[in-house]
C-alpha cells in the first residue's frame, strides 16, 4: 500500500501510464470510429488481427493500471478507517486484475482461434 511504501513510485507510474496512454487512446477512438461494419464477424476480424490484438491488450493493461492508481488515491483520500481502507484497496486490486486477465484471455481467444 502506498502509505506504507511511500508515494514516489505511485506518482511516477501514474504520470508514465498517462503519457503512454495518450497515443493508445487516440488510436482506439480513431479505430473504433473507422470500423464501418460492427457485426460479429467484422468485430472478430478486427480484434483478432495480430497488430490490433497486441495494441488492444496493451491498451487494456495500461488503462486498468492507470485506473487502479487513480482509484487508489481516491480511496486513500476518502476512506479514513485503516482496516476498511486496506480491505477496499485489496478487493479493488483483485477485481481489476480479474477483469484484465479476462479481457486479455478474450482477445487471445479470438486472435488465436481463427
Amino acid at each position: 500500500m502506498e502509505y506504507i511504501k511511500g508515494g514516489k513510485h505511485h506518482w511516477l507510474m501514474q504520470r508514465i501510464t498517462a503519457i503512454v496512454l495518450v497515443p493508445f487512446i487516440l488510436w482506439f477512438v480513431i479505430s473504433v470510429v473507422s470500423l464501418t461494419k460492427m457485426d460479429y464477424a467484422s468485430a472478430r476480424d478486427w480484434i483478432g488481427s495480430t497488430s490490433v490484438a497486441i495494441t488492444l491488450i496493451s491498451l487494456i493493461i495500461l488503462s486498468f493500471y492507470h485506473a487502479q492508481l487513480g482509484l487508489q488515491v481516491i480511496v486513500e483520500d476518502y476512506v479514513h478507517t485503516k482496516s476498511a481502507r486496506l480491505a477496499i484497496l485489496v478487493l479493488m486490486k483483485c477485481a481489476l486484475i480479474f477483469v484484465v486477465i479476462s479481457a486479455i484471455f478474450a482477445v487471445l481467444k479470438i486472435a488465436l482461434g481463427r
Binding site: A18, V33, K37, M38, Y40, A67, I74, H80, I110
Partner: protein, 132 residues
C-alpha cells in the same frame, strides 16, 4: 482517526464554485466514470469471444438510444480526462501556475475537449449514415 464531526475544509455547501475547483473535481469524476467505460470495452470484447448471440445482444444495446447516449457521455468524459490530464502534466513539469494561466489553460482544455468530442461524433454520423 476520529474526527469528532468537526467541519472539514473546503465547506462545499457555502463555497462558491470556480472553474478551477470544478475542473479539478471533474478530473476525478471523469476518471471514475472512465473505469465504467473501460469495463464497457471489456464487456464488448468478451462478448465477441463468447459467441454471436451474446455479441448481438451487446451490440443491440450499444446501438439503442441509451447505448448511444452512454457512448456519447463516454466520449465526452474521455476527451475531458485526456485534455485535462495533459494540463496536469504541464503543471507537473512546472508550467502554468499563475492564476490567469490556470484559468486560460482551463478554458483551452474545455474547448479542445468539446472540439475532439464533436469531431469524433461528426465522423461517427458521417461514416454510419453513408456506409450502412
Amino acid at each position: 482517526m476520529k474526527t469528532h464531526n468537526r467541519p472539514l475544509s473546503p465547506h462545499l455547501q457555502i463555497y462558491k464554485p470556480q472553474l478551477t475547483s470544478v475542473m479539478s473535481i471533474c478530473h476525478r469524476a471523469t476518471g471514475v466514470a472512465l473505469v465504467a467505460g473501460a469495463l464497457l470495452l471489456v464487456w464488448w470484447v468478451i462478448a465477441a469471444a463468447v459467441g454471436p448471440e451474446v455479441f448481438d445482444k451487446v451490440q443491440k444495446f450499444l446501438t439503442s438510444w441509451l447505448g448511444i447516449l452512454i457512448l456519447f457521455i463516454f466520449t465526452c468524459t474521455l476527451m475531458y480526462h485526456l485534455c485535462n490530464g495533459i494540463r496536469h502534466l504541464f503543471w507537473d513539469a512546472g508550467y502554468g501556475f499563475r492564476l490567469e494561466d490556470v484559468y486560460k489553460s482551463g478554458w483551452i482544455t474545455l474547448s479542445i475537449a468539446v472540439l475532439l468530442t464533436s469531431i469524433t461524433w461528426i465522423f461517427v454520423i458521417i461514416l454510419r449514415t453513408t456506409v450502412i
